[in-house]
Subunit: 413 residues, 2 copies
């Protein structure tokens, strides 16, 4: 535990969320107040910006704009998908980071991201410690996927969940207006964890639950799916709303969308998914002759900041502030996490988790919450997620449209 | 001009909108107050409900729920796509309608819909008049397409426009986070009229205009599109946001999506569109090697009531009320329309237009507003549309999610 004096470097990584900038706002506003923090830097495009010495001087930004960050979706500094090699295999990047840290006297390094980013953060933390360079390293979590280990939920999940539940309610009303058959397949993000898809179940609290929900945690059987849809249609005036995860796989482990088309892969070697809704909608059309619609919630579910949850925005802001306070007090090698207090009333406590525990461990939806032979989720999920989507917090309107933060982004030379 | 005493029959037709029920609320609340209106009926699934004697007794509904209709998307009574034949060809349906009207003493018939529905409404109006049956017939317009003739704009358009502009802003931020190339193609509804696609331009007022906008009013050239995207990418760090109408066609008149797949047709013989964004995104990927994303705003753009424009909700509610007042005062064979008053301050006057003028005439975006060789729209469009998307009006939240109207829907026996 060392109380250091020097610059703070903050970087955003991985897929953006509606509230990732709220953490940035929390970090920046708190860091600018701290006496131990001499400079506040924001790296352009994550760790790449640090490696390339491309970062912004946050003290040059207007406080008004920094506050608007709280309700501005997407990563304002730019993001990156770049996975560091193990230092034991190739330490080139680490040495370069150390060089940059020394040059700018960076004594606080904060990385904001999901699983892969916490892994990056952990590796950097260990390398700096092993090199004898004093730097307090903190992970600030974010991921709409909600799959980080060691935290009750992840910053960004609740806003995406609120977007999904609200949108599924609206689509449910729309898709059922005609007296003719209609099957609607809605696709949510979440490669390996079904939290976002499960969020559609929240619509049940106001009476508009989807008919079928399929999570990637359990095998997906196409023939059974067709039967499930037919069953719902038979009972329900030939209407059916099914919500599926982009990551559903058959029991052989093949992504459903890959059964139709060979998918490209992203830079981490993850299969590049999408098109499940369209694929299944076409299949149902073929098997039943019914009119169908495949709807992909695409980027909207992660950038729909106009539907952000106030709980999420505030917690995410606090996570940023608390990371700064903890680091200034000498904490290092930790990720901020949320612990839910027991009792009926929803309340959380902010805790610090060792980075190696957070890195690379995926938290999926408990199998006992997946019910009805894999086509629905239980009320336990609602009890878990409903408190998270409460309240509204969004950008002020200007000209009837959101006024998002506009940063000057002045590079440090 | 006859002052009639009898029942009012209201029916919703065509594709739903975020605010179509606001007109229903206006009609119902005003009609329930009128001494000349003995009963208030809501037809199940448009004209089909009347033909089949399936309609609800609106007086049995709670006033609280009727008020919630104002912010409940989609057609609460159910909709239909059913085009009446010309009475001169086959008057079976008309005779049946007359029979039902007589049986229930329907003296006020209101039809809520777009182009095709105004045509239906017009035909019914003429048939009743020719049959010597006194019935005041009113068209209440709605269409997100904004293509009805004789009105400054159409109820429902502004809310869809606000949804599109807001969502395009959010997507613009999201799609540009990485330092790698990214081309995003966003698809909006609007078969023959580009009003909705043009609405993406409103994002310009807060600095997030899309780079390219293609309306169906002008020919679409695929090769030129690829060049346009390349040009934008070259100037713009390999990022491009293009917004296209589902209805863009090449100069031979073939829908772009049909160039790839043979489309199905709906019950009116309209080509069933969709998939333009995916088609063009794939094309750009093939031609440039860049990462691309095709995003269809699908049903969300017409049912996203959480983003409704207050101007739209209020005008649409008033349109319903004014239709009732006018009919009770003896008006018939008219459609309610909006006339914009001259001057800088946005204000409208509600007028009545003969139904035959409203029926079947499509109003498209003025060609002089389509600029930059067909890849952008001018500021005149912004001047026209921006006043329409002002203010917010949405359902109250319950459990953090919208509380939409729940009608009892008690059938009249």
């Amino acid at each position: 535990m060392k109380n250091l004096k020097g610059a703070l470097m903050f970087a955003q990584s991985g897929g953006p969320t509606s509230v990732i900038n709220s953490s940035a706002a929390g970090v920046f506003i708190e860091a600018l107040k701290s006496k131990n923090i001499t400079e506040v830097y924001g790296a352009a495009n994550g760790i790449k910006g640090v490696l390339e010495e491309k970062f912004y001087d946050i003290s040059k930004e207007d406080m008004k704009e920094l506050k608007l960050l709280k309700n501005t979706p997407s990563s304002a500094l730019g993001s990156v998908r770049y996975k560091l090699k193990d230092a034991s295999v190739d330490d080139t990047d680490y040495k370069r980071l150390l060089e940059v840290f020394k040059k700018y006297n960076v004594r606080y390094f904060f990385y904001n991201g999901g699983n892969d980013s916490m892994d990056t953060c952990n590796k950097i933390s260990k390398f700096m410690a092993n090199s004898g360079y004093d730097c307090n390293v903190m992970g600030v979590p974010k991921t709409i996927d909600n799959d980080l280990f060691g935290t009750d939920h992840c910053p960004g999940f609740a806003s995406a969940a609120k977007y999904i539940a609200t949108t599924v309610m609206e689509i449910s009303l729309d898709a059922k207006v005609y007296d003719t058959p209609m099957v609607c397949v809605i696709e949510c993000m979440g490669r390996h964890a079904g939290w976002l898809t499960a969020a559609s179940k929240l619509a049940a609290v106001n009476g508009l639950a989807p008919d079928l929900i399929y999570l990637p945690e359990v095998d997906f059987d196409i023939d059974k799916f067709v039967e499930d849809v037919k069953d719902v249609c038979a009972k329900n005036n030939n209407k059916c709303i099914a919500v599926v995860s982009e990551g559903i796989k058959n029991k052989e482990g093949t992504f459903i969308c890959e059964l139709v088309a060979q998918g490209a892969r992203d830079s981490f070697g993850h299969a590049q998914l999408g098109g499940v809704a369209a694929t299944l909608a076409n299949l149902i059309k073929e098997k039943t002759g019914f009119k169908t619609r495949g709807i992909e919630l695409s980027l909207m579910q992660r950038c729909g900041a106009h539907l952000a949850s106030k709980v999420d925005v505030e917690e995410t802001f606090n996570a940023g502030r608390i990371a700064v306070k903890a680091a200034v007090n000498g904490e290092t090698d930790k990720m901020v996490c949320y612990e839910r207090k027991p009792g009926k009333k929803y309340e959380i406590e902010y805790k610090l988790l060792p980075l190696e525990l957070a890195a690379n461990t995926e938290k999926t939806v408990p199998l006992e919450w997946i019910i009805d032979d894999g086509r629905n989720v239980s009320d336990e999920f609602i009890d878990y997620a409903l408190p998270l989507i409460q309240g509204e917090s969004k950008a002020p309107l200007e000209n009837g449209l959101p006024r998002f933060a506009k940063l000057k982004k002045i590079f440090v030379k």
